[in-house]
Amino acid sequence: MAVSLSKGGNVSLSKEAPGLTKVLVGLGWDVRASDGADFDLDASVFLCAASGKVRSDSDFIFYNNLKSSDGSVEHTGDNKTGAGEGDDEAVKVDLSKVPADVQKLVFSVTIHEAESRKQNFGMVSNAFVRVVNETDNKEITRYDLSEDSSVDTAMMFAELYRNGAEWKFRAVGQGFKGGLGPLAKNLGVNL
């Protein structure tokens, strides 16, 4: 059952998909049809400790650091234009492998060089982020970036956080000015 998310909405993954162990966060968008610089959207994940910050720089999973050292998070690679059907970038999470001191995973979506290219999510056609239960391939939830984050250039999309024995999913939908750099710094990455 797919739940359509709005900002601040809470979804208990264990309720939507009991026994969830493998999650895929997919990012997709259309190739630019008009003339101008390509739309290059990037998905990233931050493995955060109880402090709310990353334990080290290698906890920042993005196009230049595709796998976490413990194998719990894997990024499928940088798509620079949105070419291809479905998910153009994806991050796979094996919740059973996430170390005990990681209390939450923060997922973000940013537009590469948004300032210099003068782009925002509203200019991109059909930009979405979705969460899929990898075990049965069912889409748990989806967020429409083009519609609901039209004037943003970077945003913290959602969090997967521990709540006792289970994992919960919270839609954050918080826009962030300045792009991936300030967003990462804010979560403790040394840039």
Partner: protein, 409 residues
């Protein structure tokens, strides 16, 4: 009145109306050409499947009158009336556009805006100007679209190819390049605000042409316009491309340094009317000859695509040509034809012909871009954009019959 940024989207209901709205459009600019405002009523696939919903100066009302061009109103140059509940269910988007007919680009625009007017008052405004644009000759300024409910979007994106490219984007009929001017009685999309001035095919008296022609489609042809005294003029062929690696770095955390820029080579196979033939390209240092046969030469080997000049080939005596195949090769760098946006410009006196590589094959490194061929008294340029693994395969198709050996720079 709410101020809208480019890219901003929202629900019409939040502005106070779910049915009748007006769109007031103010456009002005310093370009010498006229600015034509139109509206495209598109289907769910974003296509103009019904020509009667292309609203422009020659067709001001949609069949049921739900979409109308009203003329100047509320102090703006142009306005449209939209009765959403009267629109047929097939129309899911209305895109308000402006196109330049002739010289200039959208960077010449002065202060402009699109207002959503509800009950006679402006509810929201998307303001824009030439500073927001570059080489575009047609813009999708604003759009009303249906997605669960009616919404608006300040689009602010456009096409360098002008109205022709805009129509292609909407799945409409493409305007033909100069040399095959369509009659005014053609179906609405082709009879739209006149295409970039199409000169009459050169015949008899020489004409000065200020036209800039784009050969968008493969097979598109144009004849070279002769100079005074009916002589063929030298052709300046320029190849340019983008550097997709600009700003990107390689290695972990980008510590490997700047990614190498792509190296493209411009060259040609040539054959003169006397039967002599050859190849001109940087590989093997075959730069040609300006003052002796074949009177075709390469200017310089730009290895980065960063130079605003790109690479240049000069054909000084087109009258001696039987056939020339102009090609480009991707030689080095991590790029391929898919991500460099290669484009060829041919200048012949004041005539300019633009040949974009708009259907690139990123797997192949050799592209026959166009053929320059003698056709009776005329010299014609035909867009090919055919991709090959290398020289021999291209030669096989065009029949020059060269012998090929490996080379390097």
């Amino acid at each position: 009145m709410q101020t809208l940024a480019r890219g901003q989207k929202g629900k019409l209901a939040d502005l106070g109306s779910t049915d009748n709205v007006e769109i007031a459009i103010q456009v002005s600019g310093k370009s010498p050409s006229a600015l034509d405002v139109s509206c495209f009523g598109l289907d769910g696939d974003g296509k103009l499947s019904d020509d009667r919903y292309f609203i422009f100066f020659n067709q001001k009302d949609s069949p049921e009158g739900a979409l109308k061009m009203q003329g100047g109103k509320y102090g703006a140059e142009e306005s449209f009336g939209v009765a959403l509940s009267k629109l047929p269910g097939t129309i899911k988007r209305m895109v308000f556009t402006v196109a330049l007919d002739g010289a200039g680009t959208m960077s010449d625009l002065g202060p402009c805006y699109v207002d959503i007017v509800i009950g006679g008052t402006s509810a929201a405004r998307y303001a824009f100007s030439g500073a927001d644009f570059g080489q575009e000759k047609a813009l999708m300024m604003f759009e009303l679209y249906f997605k669960d409910m009616w919404r608006y979007s300040a689009v602010g994106q456009g096409f360098n190819g002008g109205l022709s490219a805009l129509l292609k984007n909407f799945g409409g009929e493409e305007l033909s390049p100069a040399g095959a001017a369509k009659p005014a009685a053609a179906p609405p999309p082709a009879a739209a605000p006149p295409p970039a001035a199409a000169p009459a095919a050169a015949a008899g008296a020489p004409k000065v042409s200020l036209s800039k022609v784009t050969l968008d489609k493969k097979g598109g042809k144009v004849s070279l316009i002769k100079g005074g005294a009916g002589q063929q003029q030298p052709i300046h062929v320029n190849l340019n491309w983008d550097n997709p690696n600009a700003g990107k770095k390689v290695g972990l955390f980008g510590l490997g340094g700047a990614a190498p820029p792509p190296d493209l080579d411009l060259g040609c196979f040539w054959r003169l009317t006397n039967g002599d033939k050859g190849v001109i390209q940087p590989l093997g240092n075959k730069f040609g000859s300006r003052h002796a046969e074949p009177f075709i030469y390469l200017d310089k080997d730009d290895r980065t695509g960063a130079s605003s000049d790109g690479e240049n080939l000069f054909i000084m005596r087109p009258d001696l040509i039987d056939m020339v195949v102009v090609f480009a090769m991707v030689y080095e760098g991590t790029a391929n034809f898919g991500n460099v946006k290669g484009r060829l410009t041919l200048k012949n006196g004041s005539q300019e012909i633009f040949v974009p590589l708009n259907s690139p094959d990123s797997r192949l490194t050799f592209c026959a871009i166009c053929v320059i061929k003698k056709n009776g008294n005329e010299v014609e340029i035909t867009k090919e954009e055919r991709y090959f693994p290398g020289h021999p395969e291209c030669d096989a198709v065009y029949g020059f019959g060269f012998r090929w050996v490996a080379g390097s720079k």
